[in-house]
Point group: C2
Chain length 526, copies 2
């Protein structure tokens, strides 16, 4: 059911202020209209989240895992209504959204497994050494506890996998934190369907209703009030640099500052090494254009920067990529606002005196169409104007022609932090690539070879993060099991009686989790 | 040798601007005078640190561990000159400083063991699944890498264990980060001796000289320039709330904001439960005064707040504590500045209309003497004036008389973040204590029972941290092996050829470390 309500704990409520969503493919306004949450709704949701915290944080691992699986099932149970609504609100095609639903459900199930395994608790026991000289050692036990209620800001470019029940929500709930979602105004119907699925899972599990609230709205004040609320203890955000930094500033000004995990901006350099370029330049050109234009280029990991040594092989790559792009179809962007920003960014590059337009994609009928863009410049010119390194969200990329590999290293060392870097590298390139990898590793969260950065695996070893401004906290990831660490903090218990210890630290290890004993790790039992 | 030099990489250099240290026990100025580092020295040290980073971060585990042990040995090799200079500069007694030297050396050796073990790398491998449908999984490998050059601010209250070669330096070097120390102006001779020991260890190990620099100085500009330097990637600090917050602000304003780990302010509540108070109130009173006055109360974990239910047992405790404090000897404080702040804080409490002075310690001859102070108030009055909950650094503590245990819970829930909370709890108290523990756990980094918060074990399970303002980042600890995590960030390598992978992620696991394979942890081999 979609009726435009706020979901505050167990309740659904209509607000006086309303907003509407637009079908970006047609420009038509969708029905119904939606409640826009105000500061009172924020305060109410946060009060409920705080009230629910102690009970939810104390859930045993199995109950919490089953709750996450319940959310996953309830999302599947929505059926095709979810896919159709998401198509209408995002302009994304059915296959993509069905895949994204699979990823969303898969993430929830993955975190259920993480919860059952219990490694995220990092349970650590240093037994007492009563006879140690000159002083005895007390009994010390450490465990990760949930940080408190978490605010999650849904992203527009993943209306399922990084929105209401996306990676931030899944990892925060897995950590034991109640979640208050600020719904993205571009897909409020999709958001409400998913929010109701979570609300039902909370009730089915017999958890306090405040474990989850959903606050749609289109004002900056709503997000600001949520981050400023003293009950909120951490923030997950995926979106623009401006939006993310605004939340970081609000969080820093609180009486008690809190961490903000904002995934913001990345141009994802791709380095074409000489042997790879010579051996398979034409194939790389096709693959590059495929990665660039996939989903209208609306991925955080879109390849927005290509670095290579100038020469005939690069000329051939450019020609092939230009040709492929010229033949590429336009695609509907997520919203009129995102389309306008893309057009503006592309126009600025096209009109820049140091930039040559290699090719544009096919123009299309209809509104909000992304027409792919590929530009080129030289390393000198790229380094001379920082604007050339700013992200243009959508299918736009810039080739930087470099004199040699050291100049590529120089460009990379001067880049801002990035989510990814990609190496197209053949065995003959490895000696040179080995010199570059440590330079690249300082600027990114993920280095990949002979693939493309779009497509982010949800797995234990994934890092979807990176130094500022890729994220506001380069020590973290928002994709993969390590994302749970963002919502935990360690607490030490010294000489506490068993009745006062958290379950994870009891001698009998009733949860059967891997722990660290006297500095040594045990193996995971599952 | 102490000659007042700056140590910039491998060099020792005198600066034109000079400052001197004072013997707080006598008020006399000590010789020699010391170089005060300026912005040029900061830039030079940071350039050298950045130049050294790639080489140092790539050291194998055994070499890095041996380097840490080399520092430890060089500190021991200084001999009694170090203890005598530290006594003269800090006013702390010989036994305390010999113990602190042992802890300093022990910390370095502990981190050598952490490095050899390699668990801090959190090496995680998700093997490729080429046949997975609908899409194959790439080979994903994640490892923690050193964050970059680190700035460390020495603390005045631990001139060895939390200064030049203290916990921040040891954990940053263990992580693979070059360190630039801003030396504390209260103990510049002690600092220089230790800094020369590190400088020699760097040379002995054949490491790039920029792995370590030492910049003494007494200006705020020095610290500000260091945190603002773009080469610095993280900051470790122990000191005042004002000083820590100033560094946090500078770090947040950088083009690339960086994490600041500031350990700042804590009053460390002690809860006397009814049965414990009835059974052993007199003993608790003596122990409390011992913890309060130890080292002139100049510990981050000094018990500055006592919470108990009002009644005759509490009256007896107060009388016994007052009596013990009245008999307590004064002690020299670390510096005239710290002594002046203590006097001011105690006078403000003594003159506060809602506060009763229970007792003061014995007055002493000489300068900079801390005379212990114990005050009392009620919960209503404590909650009505936030000033009553501010830290008075030194041997000053406040008893808050509460009506009942729920009122104690209320006071704790309204406290700012704390490093520790202490429970004096007998078996008959456990049911009530169990209700309070989750409330306390949200406000502190460590909960201890039937002991005193002073005395922080350096161990895997220790947390010396806590929510703001105990620290600026409540997800971390500055004491214990987990402190290394502050200076690491995860990086994922996808489909990289073996020649391009960090050693920790090679299939053959040449370092023999415990890793996570396909989501499951291996046991630590050592």
């Amino acid at each position: 059911m979609i009726d435009g309500a706020l979901l505050i704990g167990g309740e659904a409520r209509q607000a006086a202020n309303r907003f509407t969503a637009v079908n970006p493919a047609s420009g038509e306004t969708l029905t119904p209209d939606f409640s826009s949450a105000n500061a009172d709704a924020v305060a109410e949701a946060c009060t409920l989240a705080e009230d629910a915290f102690a009970t939810y944080a104390a859930t045993d691992l199995e109950s919490r895992a089953a709750f996450l699986e319940g959310i996953a099932q309830n999302i599947l149970d929505i059926g095709d209504e979810l896919i159709e609504r998401a198509m209408a609100e995002s302009g994304l095609p059915r296959a993509r959204l069905e895949g994204e639903r699979g990823r969303t459900v898969g993430q929830l199930k993955l975190f259920a497994g993480v919860v059952r395994q219990g490694d995220f608790l990092d349970a650590t026991i240093d037994p007492a050494l009563p006879d140690r000289a000159p002083l005895p050692r007390p009994d010390l036990r450490r465990v990760n506890l949930a940080i408190g209620p978490v605010a999650v800001f849904g992203a527009s470019n993943f209306p399922l996998a990084f929105s209401v029940a996306g990676g931030d929500t899944a990892s925060a709930l897995a950590a034991g934190c109640p979640v208050v979602v600020k719904g993205h105004p571009s897909h409020p119907g999709t958001g409400e369907l998913v929010a109701r699925a979570i609300q039902k899972a909370v009730a089915d599990a017999g958890l306090p209703a405040g474990v989850f609230s959903y606050l749609p709205g289109e004002t900056n004040e709503l997000g600001g009030a949520l981050v400023a609320d003293p009950r909120i203890q951490a923030v997950g955000f995926t979106g623009s640099r401006g939006g993310g930094l605004a939340l970081v500033r609000i969080a820093a000004k609180r009486d008690e500052p809190i961490p903000v995990y904002a995934e913001m901006s990345s141009i994802n350099p791709v380095v074409l090494f000489p042997a790879a370029l010579a051996a398979r330049g034409a194939a790389l050109a096709k693959e590059f254009v495929g990665s660039l234009t996939m989903g209208a280029g609306q991925f955080c990991t879109n390849p927005g920067l290509v670095l290579a040594v100038d020469g005939p092989d690069l000329d051939a790559f450019v020609e092939a990529a230009g040709s492929a792009l010229t033949d590429s179809a336009p695609a509907t962007m997520l919203s009129p606002g995102i389309h306008a920003s893309f057009e503006q960014g592309v126009a600025a590059l096209a009109g820049h005196e140091a930039v040559r337009t290699v090719a544009r994609g096919k123009s299309g009928e209809g509104v909000n169409q992304a027409v792919g863009a590929f530009f080129e410049t030289t390393a000198d010119q790229f380094l001379a104007d920082v604007k050339l390194s700013h992200e243009v969200f959508g299918s736009s990329s810039m080739l930087v022609r470099c004199r040699d590999l050291p100049e590529i290293a120089l460009v990379i060392a001067k880049l801002e932090g990035q989510l990814t870097a990609t190496l197209q590298v053949d065995p003959a390139d490895e000696a040179e690539a080995a010199k570059l990898v440590p330079v690249i590793a300082r600027r990114v969260g993920r280095i990949l070879a002979n693939g493309w950065p779009t497509g982010v695996e949800v797995a234990p070893a994934m890092v979807h993060g990176g130094p500022f401004p890729a994220t506001s906290d380069g020590r973290t990831t928002s994709v993969g099991t390590l994302a749970i660490a963002r919502f935990l903090r360690p607490v030490c218990f010294q000489n506490l009686a068993p009745a006062l210890l958290p379950e994870a630290l009891h001698d009998d290890n009733g949860w059967g989790i891997a722990r660290r004993l006297d500095g040594k790790r045990e193996a995971s039992p599952r």
